[in-house]
Subunit: 370 residues, 2 copies
């Protein structure tokens, strides 16, 4: 078997995004042990950086040793016990996945559905929580990667803050690319992935749990159904502060090296500057696409800057041209899922790709098909 | 926050082991998409290499997107349903962990215990299965990382092959370093980790399921409790052969690049040669340690070449010298766990560290404390 030589792709799909050379360089750093005192320092640094990125003071803020979906699972299996009720917003693949995960925890799921490509009216989420007193949690996707919709969550958070219901948010495609304020918005549990706006390869799921969430977990009657994702044990490894860290599982050291560098780059740029850069690049892309005859799909006023969804111009071979872009131009864009499979494209401008240079490359390539 | 510059450690503990520069170089390769046709080719190659390393023809052979403990969890949650019986051998940390994981699946666990540092008599495992007709699975740790014991499993495999009980084996510290024959020994499910004898950073758990195991999974009455680890869905992404691969979760691409290179190195060396090299290095180490007054701990005749456990000479500050080795010599060795915490050392010679050069470094450093 030959040396690994994959093509050099420009990743403008729904993730993974291209990884800065600094992150790859950090990941080629020789490994040290997961219980080495020097690694503990690195863990502390990563947790500090994650807190800044999530805008939270939550002590239990760490990277789950798996991809974004493991983060989703970690949130649900820790917070839910059999018989609990979960109110879940569903307007795309990831809201749908949340329901599946919650049901596997033995929870009763109350779905609040909206059309794909549109937001869920926050008032309907609030209403569903009020209709289900005692609901253990209310979950929603901040940035639906399957549709390119940015869900407003502040109003819902403000409401839930005054209730006993926990607020769980999926920020896989928003963290580091779109404004997200975990503490200020009353979010109790929030998970993300490394391969979107954080610009680190897939493999870790940053997550944070509020004190309120940790108290609920502390009162569980049953063990968390996943040993691997059990935060009551993981906190003894990750969230000890000065105390002795207890071995749980071997941390994915190289991925953590990469995450540290990715988060360091974010801090150097500044989170607000980064949000603005994503918004500016997306605005540039939207204008360019419309100029080429694309029709933007996601609900106006609620479009997700890191991921633009659009119908290609009439007459275009939607999937055929997408494949040509990949094979001839080395440019990856994403296809549609579910009701819009084969109908739309999902174009990601995440992390270092959120810039006019990358927009220019794509738009010029698309002109060849116009 | 400064650039990441961890110390350059010689990793002679229970894992992670040092990673060859070729693997680190492969991991610094720019990322491509997890649904890119070129990535599908890489996935096929990794699966082929894993089959060779596990010595199996099992179609469902792939790397779980998590560390070795995620592999353990993947094996149990897929094979067990609430009410099932699992016979589990326990003579160290990882057998104990298996029981915890199995109980979280709602299974009834029948423990077959032996003293830490000694093997479990295969006849006692067979007896326990016979005493529990209808047991869904029988699980044992091939290489107990907490004790340095290599468990004989062939006889148990031959017995289980003729029964309906599935044979589940933990090969975290044996795969790639010690003889393991998944098909010939009748193993139905076997998981490992990348950070031991495979010499790839922690973050993936190679796993394989036999046809018999997949049939049992296919007849489940309940959904697998973990969405993330559900092999009925994962097989549509990983084990499709020529068919269209279905997205499940974003694969940890960079880790898979590293695994491909680590497995390629193993094939270049040859698996038997590698097993012999581990055995030779361990023999050399054992002799040297005894010469220094160490007393080997694991049961004679059943010592695990990649991990040697031993009591340091009388009068040594067991934990103090271990720390000095780390801070002054940049050499990591492992401490004892459970009943031998603070009493033994666990010295790993895994992958590229299984050579006389590394043994010489350690022995010479130890002479300074004699």
């Amino acid at each position: 078997m030959q040396e690994l030589i994959p093509p050099a792709r420009l990743l403008l799909g729904p993730g993974p995004s291209n990884v800065p050379y600094r992150v790859l360089r950090a990941m080629s750093t020789p490994v040290i042990g997961h219980l080495d005192p020097k690694f503990m320092e690195i863990m502390d640094e990563v947790c500090q950086l994650l807190k800044k990125t999530f805008r939270t003071q939550n002590q239990m803020t760490f990277p789950v040793s798996g991809t974004g979906s493991a983060g989703m699972e970690a949130a649900f299996v820790n917070l839910l016990e059999p018989g609990d009720t979960a109110v879940v917003g569903v307007n795309g693949v990831f809201g749908t996945r949340m329901c599946d995960v919650a049901e596997r925890c033995g929870a009763k799921v109350v779905k609040v559905e909206a059309e794909w490509g549109r937001i869920i009216d926050p008032a309907r989420m609030i209403d569903a929580v009020q209709q289900n007193p005692g609901a253990k949690l209310c979950a929603i996707v901040h940035a639906e990667t399957s549709t390119g919709v940015l869900q407003p969550i502040e109003e819902l958070g403000a409401f839930l803050k005054k209730s006993d219901t926990l607020f769980l948010v999926d920020s896989v495609t928003s963290l580091g690319g779109v404004k997200l304020e975990v503490d200020a918005w009353g979010v109790d549990a929030c998970y993300s992935g490394t391969q979107k706006c954080i610009c680190v390869p897939p493999g870790l799921a940053p997550i944070t749990f509020s004190t309120k969430a940790m108290e609920v977990i502390g009162k569980r009657k049953s063990k968390v159904q996943s040993w691997y994702l059990d935060v009551t044990m993981l906190q003894k490894y990750w969230a000890t502060g000065e105390a002795q860290r207890l071995y749980h599982h071997t941390a994915p050291i190289t991925m953590i090296y990469g995450l540290r560098e990715g988060l360091r780059i974010i801090q150097e740029e500044g989170l607000e500057t980064r949000w603005e850069r994503h918004a500016a690049a997306a605005g540039h892309l939207e204008k360019g696409l419309e100029g080429l005859g694309f029709k933007l799909w996601a609900q106006e006023g609620h479009r997700l800057p890191p991921l633009t969804s659009a119908h290609p111009p009439q007459g275009w071979d939607v999937e055929g041209i997408r494949k040509e872009l990949l094979t001839d131009y080395d440019i990856e864009v994403g296809g549609g899922l579910g009701p819009v499979a084969g109908k739309i494209w999902r174009i990601g401008l995440m992390g270092e790709n959120a810039c006019v240079q990358k927009v220019a490359v794509l738009l010029r390539a698309l002109q060849d098909f116009a």
